[in-house]
């Protein structure tokens, strides 16, 4: 099992790790697998293809996708500003980016909702001026997800941007590239893998997000009902097989997204390093 090492403590550290891991993660996960194996395939298919469930997946995926695209663009700008420019308030800007990690999602949820109803600070402006409702619509869900996803792209692009060697840019300028070409051909390919992985992490997180979304969504069936809420509804009716079926599809979606990211990472790495 293990190669000889002079350092003691393998037994105790390995034992503790496996014990805690089993109790908290492995046994509960096994029970999900065992329970899922008992589901009949026809019942499973019936549950996950009900129009209401399909629309739940659609709402979750589409809003998470739009929010993650917005965060990819804004994350790139924020990372760029934080790495390349000096300006007053920079440390403050850098510090508050992590707020969505530190602020409980339910707190973010109620405050975003209360702000964007047609009587709220922001909601009133949009409703009076453009007739746009934010809270209790898909737009509202997207806004909550943008809030949740802000740190992912910034924190994945920032370190890569910091490490880019100035010589590469100098060489490009010497060869006659202007600023735009330099960004497109030299800097962008360098940060693309980090951008993709930040986007994917945000996307995966947003699809499963519950706390911040459940308040602002309004939860109208077929309109603003997200997939995690459907699981919650089935659980409250003690319909565990339906809840498990919906959850399995969500796990599958998350798995596919993370695998696509892994594939993209290796193909981008190949192209950049020129190895095949």
């Amino acid at each position: 099992m293990k190669r000889k090492s002079i350092i003691p403590g393998f037994g105790i550290s390995f034992g503790l790790t496996i014990t805690i891991l089993s109790l908290v993660v492995l046994i509960p996960l096994c029970s999900l697998v065992v329970y899922a194996a008992k589901l009949s395939p026809s019942e499973f298919l019936y549950t996950v293809t009900r129009p209401r469930v399909l629309s739940g997946y659609y709402v979750s995926i589409s809003t998470a996708f739009v929010a993650s695209i917005v965060n990819a663009v804004m994350g790139l700008i924020l990372a760029w500003v934080l790495v390349r420019y000096e300006f007053p308030g920079k440390r403050f800007l850098d510090g508050i980016i992590e707020l969505p990690f530190a602020l409980p999602t339910a707190v973010a949820g109620i405050s975003l909702t209360h702000m964007t109803t047609t009587n709220g600070w922001i909601g009133k402006i949009f409703y009076d001026a453009f007739g746009i409702r934010i809270a209790y619509t898909r737009l509202g869900i997207t806004i909550a997800l943008i809030f949740i996803g802000i740190p992912f792209v910034v924190r994945s692009v920032q370190p890569v941007l910091e490490k880019i060697d100035i010589q590469c840019e100098e060489a490009a300028f010497m060869l006659g590239a202007d600023r735009k070409t330099c960004f497109r051909k030299v800097i962008f390919p360098e940060i693309l893998p980090a951008l993709i992985s930040g986007f994917t992490l945000a996307f995966a997180r947003c699809i499963g997000e519950y706390g911040s979304v459940v308040f602002i969504a309004g939860n109208t069936p077929y309109e603003t009902e997200i997939a995690p809420l459907l699981i919650m509804a089935q659980l409250q009716e003690f319909d565990y097989s339906a809840a498990t079926s919906i959850a399995l599809v969500m796990l599958l979606i998350a798995f596919v997204i993370l695998s696509i990211n892994a594939l993209l990472q290796s193909s981008v790495a190949k192209r950049v390093n020129g190895k095949s």
Binding site: I6, I7, G9, V24, V25, M74, L99, I110, L235
Partner: protein, 276 residues
């Protein structure tokens, strides 16, 4: 140097976009929470905040957070120790399983515990005989909190221990030091800032967890309501002052966590620089 420094209006446009984006999405909700909490005056705020159920909910949140930090610290240290100091088969799988809980939607995290310990499970009669109730009770809340913060501490420790290598521990072991002496005198000084940093991140997530805890809580006022769940209850009962007052406690915690994070990150970086 010239290449990066000379940047005309674009620089300021990007900086203004960044400030606007973060002000609207991050600062405005914070200001909104505080202003709504105090809207009916400081007296109403103090009444809401010292409400019996708010205090009970806060105590439960603290309890769950302490459990999560304690368990995940033990797990984090032992996992980091056995993953970085030894070579063994199955290492990759072990670290994948430790990271798994954060990629799972919180609702699904709640679901797997319901499936494991719920009435339909094989474990239920055994636990029932022993008089142990897990779901819809405090142990379930604690378990869910541990689950959602599972890799937070090990993830901070592993990179530091990997960078540090095994030479020092090997030398100490050759000189006859035991496991705990080596850990206390050799390893611990290297990881103390990373450990604190991990604990801060773990605390932030643990005190704010909503989805998983919501599935497993019996939603009993004063018994199984954590602070975020109690906020939901108040909000849905249209007690906005109460909801935002309770939220303001969590906002304060979030701000403290952000500041601690910045300080610890700086300390950790300094430590690494000295080593280099």
């Amino acid at each position: 140097m010239e290449i990066r420094k000379n940047n005309g209006p674009l620089k300021w446009i990007l900086i203004v976009i960044s400030f606007l984006f973060l002000t609207i999405f991050l600062l405005l909700p914070l200001i909104y929470i505080l202003s709504t909490a105090f809207r009916q005056g400081i007296g109403a705020y103090l009444v809401s905040i010292s409400d019996e159920y708010t205090i009970k909910a806060a105590m439960l949140t603290i309890k769950a957070t302490l459990w999560a930090v304690a368990v995940n610290t033990i797990l984090g240290i032992s996992a980091a120790w056995c993953l970085t100091k030894f070579a063994f088969r199955g290492k990759k799988i072990l670290s994948t399983f430790i990271d798994l809980p954060v990629t799972v939607s919180p609702i699904i995290a709640g679901l797997i515990y319901v499936l494991t310990f719920g009435r339909q499970s094989d474990l239920y009669p055994i636990l029932d005989d022993m008089g142990i109730q897990i779901i819809f009770a405090v142990p379930g809340i604690v378990l869910a909190t541990i689950f959602v913060t599972f890799p937070f501490i090990s993830r901070e420790l592993i990179p530091v221990l990997t960078a540090q290598g095994t030479d020092e521990e090997e030398a100490a072991a050759l000189m006859g030091a035991g496991t705990f002496t080596i850990f206390r005198k050799v390893t611990f000084p290297h990881i103390k800032w990373a450990l604190l940093y991990g604990i801060v991140l773990c605390t932030a997530r643990a005190m704010g967890e909503f989805g998983a805890v919501s599935v497993l809580s019996g939603h009993l006022r004063g018994k199984t309501n954590t602070l975020p769940l109690y906020i939901e209850l108040l909000y849905q009962g249209y007690d906005f002052t109460g909801a935002f007052a309770a939220s303001s406690i969590l906002v304060l915690m979030a701000i403290i966590i952000l500041i601690l994070r910045l300080v610890l990150e700086k300390k950790g970086k300094k430590e690494l620089d000295i080593k280099k």
